[in-house]
Symmetry: C2
Subunit: 126 residues, 2 copies
DNA sequence: AGGCTAGGTTTCCGATAGGAACCAGCAGGT
DNA sequence: ACCTGCTGGTTCCTATCGGAAACCTAGCCT
């Protein structure tokens, strides 16, 4: 069991780990997925993503923006219009995100089946 | 802007969405990464993954086990030995997880640079 | 004037994460 | 025989987070 070197996302402080924590988040993945096909408005994302609140959407987008993955474009119109899109750096995430969502689409049922079949994983003495 | 259909992880209740929420989690990704090279002991994971506590590790592993992604093997020895490994279903996650961690390794620095350069994303009026 | 729109923030409260401390069970040293 | 240590797990307690709903801004329309 070696082959893990420095730069692996195991070290708590290394940039790789921080990057994982940035995107390995319930809403973040779905938001990035929503952005993966081009610029989207705030309201579109709200309608697209079932269950997200304005607060969490804004918060997630802000965090991604602060980390250079998302660009925000506010048009000085009225009513206001704000579009979000992936930066070039953010676009490099499209493939990983799509692999994840593809996996989820393909295996979501299997995962639920397993949960249904195994209501009691084990309780501290096998 | 369409092309998103049913089965996409957008619907709050669909299995794909639940599957995303299962793995899109700070510790889950790192734990799956730790499991991706073969059976590992609880204590090994603790040492491997910087910053994780026993509680969060156990909790994460239990959840993955309940969803059929991880198998737990407790040997009746003393001192106790418990090994965890991916199930075949869990193994289908290796590629997506590795894409994520590869992305993190490649872009972690860029993400931190952006954070450093952009300490103030925007504050509600562009 | 009042209401509508769209994006964002604030407030409040229940749920969760997370660390520290504790527990079980047995082998081995003394 | 007792005390200690090794390993995995759980319990307790608190700081933080998530989420719903209300409120805010600013201009156009009626």
């Amino acid at each position: 069991m070696s082959g893990f070197g420095p730069g692996d996302p195991f070290l708590a402080d290394c940039p790789a780990r921080l990057a994982v924590e940035l995107i390995a988040d319930k809403w973040t993945v779905v938001v990035l997925y929503g952005l993966s096909k081009g610029p989207v408005r705030h309201g579109e994302l709200i309608e697209l993503i079932g269950g997200i609140s304005r607060k969490m959407l804004t918060q997630t987008l802000r965090r991604l923006q602060a980390h250079g993955l998302v660009r925000r474009h506010a048009y000085a119109e009225v009513p206001p219009r704000v579009e979000y899109e992936l930066t070039p750096l953010g676009a490099t995430l499209i493939d990983p995100i799509h692999m994840l969502t593809e996996w989820a689409r393909a295996n979501g049922d299997a995962v639920l089946d397993a949960l249904d079949a195994d209501p009691e994983p084990v309780a501290h003495g096998d």
